[in-house]
Symmetry: C2
Subunit: 338 residues, 2 copies
Amino acid sequence: MTSSIKDVAKHAQVSISTVSHVVNGTRFVGAQATERVQMAIKELSYVPSSVARSLKSQNTHTLGMLVPNCSNPYFSEIMRSIEERCFELGYNLILCNTYDRPERQTKYLQILMEKRVDGLILITASKPDQWRLPAKLKMPVVLVDREVNNHYCDLVETAHEHGTKLATQHLLDLGHRHIACMAGPKGLSPSDQRIKGWQAALQQASLHSSVLVHGDFTSQGGYETMLELLAAWQNHQQAKPSAVVICNDLMAIGALCAVHEQGLQVPRDLSIVGFDDIELSRFTNPPLTTVRQPKQAMGIHAVEMLVERIKGKRSATQTLLLTPELCVRGSTAKLMAD
Amino acid sequence: MTSSIKDVAKHAQVSISTVSHVVNGTRFVGAQATERVQMAIKELSYVPSSVARSLKSQNTHTLGMLVPNCSNPYFSEIMRSIEERCFELGYNLILCNTYDRPERQTKYLQILMEKRVDGLILITASKPDQWRLPAKLKMPVVLVDREVNNHYCDLVETAHEHGTKLATQHLLDLGHRHIACMAGPKGLSPSDQRIKGWQAALQQASLHSSVLVHGDFTSQGGYETMLELLAAWQNHQQAKPSAVVICNDLMAIGALCAVHEQGLQVPRDLSIVGFDDIELSRFTNPPLTTVRQPKQAMGIHAVEMLVERIKGKRSATQTLLLTPELCVRGSTAKLMAD
DNA sequence: GAAAAAAACGTTTGCGCAAACGTTTTTTTC
DNA sequence: GAAAAAAACGTTTGCGCAAACGTTTTTTTC
């Protein structure tokens, strides 16, 4: 079926050694021999086997990438830049969706170890207690976006707390005093840190913390959670805030939808700030004011840190904290006097 | 470093053959021997090498997946269902973004052949003339969403033409008579077919084709193209249509943004229908009426057809044409009398 | 109780390659 | 012109495994 180095050698009337050296340029080979080998390669459509090469060289130039869900734009945008940098550095990526399910993650880790991937990029949003990396996992690992309990590995993340601080401060500057927060699932570290940032900004302005609710980081969740909030406000069960800090863009987009569905307007009746700055945030109605995570930089650095480890150029673990920035668009406005 | 079957054999005082048979359950092994092998595996943290196994068995249980851009929600949603089915069937996926660049695709095809992937899933949107599959590519291939010139391979796609026909008919039913179309890049087969559907529906209603413009299937492109359209209409260079069929959701979302930015309202001043039904379409403002592509079914069938070929269960090429359906939401409304 | 059959393992090969190690031929050195 | 060096290749090994092929011991059969 597929021809091997042996077939090429026979066809070119040289040794397999010579074929190997022509293919890899690892030793001088005379002009005629080179010529004959190249001809044979072409005629037999020879493609060297990475499988055999990997067995010999003990590396695969392949990385495992675990993400909760590749159709979440936040993750897919990070994935994109990871893939891009991998391509440039000569690595391939095996895509693994975990859906935050520990058994699925465990299964994938096993498979990736069997495949002898050179390293792992972990973007996983499950609760810390649910998932500890097996200690025996003797393989370079870079965590992206969130810590893991027993982390003996590198980490790249955004300064979540600083991000929501920026968002909240922006709303304060616009005159808002009642600023609610829609966070992610309880116990999830990025979510917890974002809550802290919101609280810190309020405290700094000598304001009480306002309403805090938890969503699930999906659009549908943001939509439903916002509907509940609006209902509570309309029934006067709670004082109505004039602004909401929403801890990711997907929920913010769902929330926007809910607000409009109830006949209210953003930002006239309610200012909304998101978090992540996914590509579509620029095109919502109104365009979403949000905290931009440097997703491209995250991906690039994650790959570079991982490759450093793979090549043994660094032994100490390293944490890279990237700075988010506020993108002011149309979903926030000055507080209207009632 | 990592232990091999040899180490396990020595530790358990059996032959490598026995270890292999215990690991794979391919031959009866006595209770004590089994016990000793399992102990040794645990103590040495032995993980069998898929690399060596692949070299021996001549398969990798790995598929290549080429997509134009994994951060495009339409593709990422298909990818998700592909990954899901692969996981169930015991295959891994290597993620390859091509960005519609032929040289990048060529490079990836070479790498995937070297990696000896068992098959290929191709979701690629580049122009047919730019990219022909190398004839020597002796490997099962399934095309998703679009044809390729020399296609000796399987194909899964949506009935594009039928889709835009549904969309256009819906607008006609609402009383619209001037219905424009914003298509994708010229020469791209799904785009061309969608244009045909729009034309066919108009013709069936004995109407002239209205304005046709070409975007690039991105949000930004949809935004800009819509701004140009609006400018042309406001300068009375063109009669203003009351509705637009937009050939994917990303452009539709960009277009929505442009319309609102110009102070107009959807659907009051302009009805808009999208195509794809990406997840966020439900949450736009107004929620987007769109043609749903059965993305999950596409992914599942693509994987299953590919695995059939890999296992040699089918030799004839096969084309699967899936039926889209219209999702009526808030971006379309009855034509208002002026 | 000897021959045949069954049970339970072990030895060896080959998958395709990279590269250490070796060999032959030609050229250089003095 | 003989010894040494250089040029240009070839032979062989081992990476880790699956499985064909083989061997030894025990049990069954008549």
